[in-house]
Amino acid sequence: MKGMRITLSWIYLALIYLFILGPMFFVLAASFNTETSFPAAFEGVTLRWYARIWDHKEFLSSAWTSTLVALVSSALAVLAAFLAAYAISRGNKRENAWLSATLAAPLLVPQVVMSLGMLQLASVAGMGTGFWWLVAVHAVHNIPFALRLTMTGFARFDFALEDAATSLGAGRLTAWREVTIPVLQSSIVAGFTFCFIMSFVNLPVSLFLADTATTTLPVVMYSYIESRIDPMLAAVSAILFVLACAITLILDKIFRIRLVD
């Protein structure tokens, strides 16, 4: 009876994971397909779609913008989240419902609405959008994720370590530099990486804020798909997917990140 339950669990999990991960692996496979249209039956193996990316400069320049936006916004989000997580974990206050709700707010507002809001804020302020508007909206969107990961780190943190450092002569900032941050580094790195990757691939939040001068890779892909679907997109997607998996696996090896408590 127990054995049957275990077998059923395995089968069920296999099916679910197939459902969740299947489409992406399919894209990965299609990116090597010699067929010119996508989707198409599998013909042969080629790398020419990857080479084609090089001819489309807008993919490369938008990828660079995406990288910068992701870097800066993730740094801001992680910094803000670290300070907030510290305040929440160290403080003697009981669970403040308003605080939790406010800090979780970016999760509840649809990304398209966030993008629209920033666009309209910019126009009301008489400004155009641009790099820093993108950074701002990405940073706000990232805060709850950075906070979640940092809080799991703080949950396992013994604040007596900070007291020990202080009693030995370290001021607050020194204690953070010498003790708190090094001990929490896996959570901080996990938070940064997660925010970076999510920012990089995020379409809706950037949708209305991109202009001809500043645009992100997902927005470029979005306009590209409007006109046609070709395997080059599969190649771009495959690169993103493999990079994301690789980074996550490498970091897990080095830092043993845990997403669940």
């Binding site: 009876m1 339950r5 395995w10 069920y12 999990l13 679910i16 994971y17 459902f19 969740i20 991960l21 299947g22 489409p23 992406m24 399919f26 894209v27 299609a30 996508f38 989707p39 039956a41 910094l79 989240a81 300070l83 907030a84 206050k93 406010t102 800090l103 707010a105 999760l107 509840l108 507002v109 649809p110 398209v112 609405v113 966030m114 629209l116 809001g117 666009l119 309209q120 804020l121 126009s123 009301v124 701002a136 940073a139 997660f194 990757i197 999510m198 691939v201 995020n202 379409l203 809706p204 949708l207 209305f208 798909i225 679907i229 997607s237 998996c245 996550t248 897990d252 997403l259 669940v260």
Partner: protein
């Protein structure tokens, strides 16, 4: 001194949220009351809302958003719950990898995933193509239908659902199961009397998360739905990038937010009756 210091630490996050989320929402709300190319009136007024809610075309959009989100939630919760219950059979490293694998779709980005569905779902695609060609089924025409949207939305929210439910189930103390077993409870009874009731708060938060994600979903309806099947998110996009109508875009946004808040409220009330304090 201590109290003040911790409050200062909260400032950066709270400031960012107020300025880059709260303020924009206020601006949207104000914009939604403005007149525009389609509707002439003296602002501020709620004419935009009346317009969107009385015109059948737009009202359909609202209903469709609600319908698709509910469908996604109704499928995702049981599937996720079962998966969360099944996960503990994996041990050690495999379990860790399984949890990590759930984050891959999120990290790869929705665009990647949608391309996958666009590849898999067409009648000529690898899934249905062989079946149609073999004459086993007639062309199901899933791509471009609401079914495609729901399928891909379910796939998108499942990792979130599984992770949240897994955490909730893990928090049920193990000795409760042992106590139930020693009292003669079999597997099913143990589930009904221990697992299910104690996991309800977790199911509630998962429902709220999944519903919010589904309602906020843009990429699935945009790429996998038919051109006429608009949801509130794609409607907003049309107003912004298509007809350049800010006030109506704003009003649609507020409607979407309102719908999500009302749904959350209803969920809490509904579950609240079953969750004993």
């Amino acid at each position: 001194m201590k109290m003040g210091f911790t409050s200062v630490l909260l400032l950066p996050s709270l400031l960012m949220i107020f300025v880059f989320l709260g303020l924009p929402l206020v601006v949207i709300a104000m914009q939604s009351l403005q007149d525009n190319v389609l509707l002439q009136f003296t602002p501020p007024g709620i004419d935009n809302y009346k317009y969107l809610l009385t015109r059948p075309y737009y009202f359909d959009v609202v209903v469709r958003t609600l319908r698709l989100s509910l469908l996604t939630t109704i499928f995702a919760i049981p599937l996720g719950y079962l998966a969360a219950m099944a996960l503990p059979v994996l041990k050690g490293r495999l379990a860790n990898m399984a949890i990590m694998a759930l984050t891959f779709p999120i990290l790869a980005g929705p665009l990647v995933v949608i391309l996958g569905w666009m590849a898999l779902l067409p009648d000529s695609g690898p899934l249905f193509g062989p079946l149609v060609r073999a004459g086993l089924i007639s062309p199901p025409r899933i791509l471009g239908s609401e079914t495609a949207i729901v399928i891909s939305q379910v796939q998108f929210v499942l990792p979130f659902a599984i992770l949240t439910l897994y955490t909730a189930l893990r928090q049920i103390p193990h000795n409760l199961y042992e106590a139930a077993a020693s009292n003669g409870a079999g597997g099913l009874q143990s589930f009904l009397h221990v697992t299910l009731p104690l996991s309800l708060p977790g199911v509630l938060s998962t429902t709220i998360i999944v519903f919010s994600l589904a309602a906020s979903s843009f990429i699935a309806p945009h790429y996998l739905g038919g051109a006429a099947d608009l949801t509130l998110t794609t409607l907003i996009t049309n107003f912004v990038l298509g007809t350049f109508n800010s006030p109506l875009a704003a009003a649609s946004s507020i409607l979407l937010l309102a719908m999500m808040l009302i749904a959350m409220f209803i969920f809490v009330k509904l579950f609240g009756r079953f969750i004993r304090p």
